[in-house]
């Protein structure tokens, strides 16, 4: 529980909380981006350099931009004026709180029931890019190929969606 972890965790949680509660959808996406960067910082603190940088590259560089484009293209970007303010203790708060409490209870039960103290210190696996590449090429070669097929399908789908339609001449 170092100071660095506390600060980054606070930033991440603040970002996600802001993403849920801000009015303007674009502000929500930017707050979500802040929390994604916070996750990347946590990965880096755990020593996973490759995953941390890939998180920034993929999430901030691609997913966040996709989300802002999606929100921008649909017309929900302007916050609706004259929104009725919900009462302080409406029924949606009750259901939301109940679901959150149930999830918290399940997670806490899982973590507490499995946390037998480790007798020997686990040797921290040295995850370097070499080993990730090695694993991808040998042990996980089939998932790699399947992901490649999935990406090709997504690319073809995107091209078909963006292609101008050809009108059949009568």
């Amino acid at each position: 529980m170092t100071a660095f972890f506390l600060i980054v965790a606070a930033l991440t949680i603040a970002g996600t909380a802001a993403a849920m509660s801000l009015r303007n959808p674009i502000h929500c996406i930017l707050a979500l981006t802040l929390s994604l960067v916070g996750f990347a910082a946590l990965y880096l603190q755990l020593g996973a350099q490759f995953v941390g940088f890939t998180q920034v590259l993929v999430y901030v560089g691609a997913v966040a931009i996709l989300a802002v484009f999606a929100i921008m293209m649909t017309r929900s970007a302007n916050p609706p004026e004259g929104q009725s303010h919900q009462a302080a203790f409406s029924s949606s708060w009750l259901t939301g709180g109940a679901i959150a409490a149930v999830i918290f209870a399940v997670l806490a039960w899982c973590i507490l029931s499995k946390s037998t103290p480790m007798q020997t210190a686990i040797q921290q696996p040295d995850v370097s890019v070499n080993q990730i590449g090695d694993a991808l090429m040998h042990k996980f070669a089939l998932p790699l190929e399947i992901v490649g097929v999935l990406l090709t399908a997504a690319l073809i789908g995107a091209v078909i969606l963006a292609m101008p339609e050809r009108r059949k001449t009568l």
């Binding site: 502000h27 890939t54 920034v56 590259l57 966040a64 931009i65 921008m72």
Partner: protein, 393 residues
Amino acid sequence: MTPDTIDQIFVIAKHWLLSYTPAPLQPVVSAALSVAPILGVFPLLFAITTVLERKGLGRIQNRYGPNRVGPYGFSQPIADGIKSLTKEDIVPRTADQFVHFLAPLLLVMAAFLAYAVLPIGKNMVITNLNAGVLFFFAVGSMVELAVFMAGWSSRSKYSLLGAMRAVAQMISYEVPLVLASIVVIMASGSLSTVAIVNQQANYTSIWPHWFVFTPWGFVGFILFMIAATAESNRSPFDLPEGESEIIAGYYIEYSGFKFALFFLGEYLGMFATSGLAITLFLGGWSAPFSFLTWVPSYVWFFAKLLALICVFIWVRGTLPRLRMDQLMGLAWKFMLPMTLLNIVTAGVWHFMPAGFVRWLVCTALLAAPFALLSRGLTQGGKKLQLRTYRFAE
């Protein structure tokens, strides 16, 4: 003063200064001492580049550049800096104030972060990350978000259009940029920039082992430079910010110092990508010939950086602007297949025994598809005819 001392003078100075600081403060002071030169040198280089560019472009266009302010106009950046600092900061009333303020800051921050992994000289890198090249590209992808924030928050049709075009262009060209650098990672077996430069710093007789002197390295370097020009929105890829097309695109509504920050961020991004190109392909801080290693390493790095900047300015003054669909077609239809072929060629190069046959095979593997692809992409080889004009009678 041996050549080695002059070469390592900054490292020695930093260690000397660190020895006088108390132990608990040492990490902070060490970080500050590493970062401060970057914060000082590269904006200075930005200032020099602005005046070089204006005079260079002027000479290419058969006119003088600025020649009033200092000796031959070389104090123009000082005048520009004072002007941008004292201009009124106009923010549109309907603009998104918070995001409008944050966008230039994010851009400049992302641009500065990229210098953390560039080895400026021997033993002179801020951090030697194991995944250095990946860090560089991750930070570069934050620039796109800043560009979008700038265009969106201005609530102006021109800036939104410019931002969308700019983001589409930057995302499209990020693919060839990363793929072109993968060949170097394959050849050197490491993502760390320091390891890549150290591998290129050897010499056989007098010739250096730079990656640009191999077929795949040469093609990779050219593809990387084209993608770098597009990534920093420079001519001939500057449709999103062209003055005659969209009147400065996504930073129309910025004035004064924020505009200067955008300019600074764009140029810093250009220097950073050039610095990465130098690190990956041109041997970083190593000298071109083995009898020139007495010149300090940081002098070589900045000499190569200035050469690349001059090439950027030269290309800007020479080539016309590409239209948006031509730009995207170039990225996806030409550069992406060429980078993939380049990766295959680098693999072939690695597994063939060294000799003349290897050069021949790899050059053919690259030159033939290039010829075929460019011929196929010019719409079936339309013959260029003498242009005839029809005027109204």
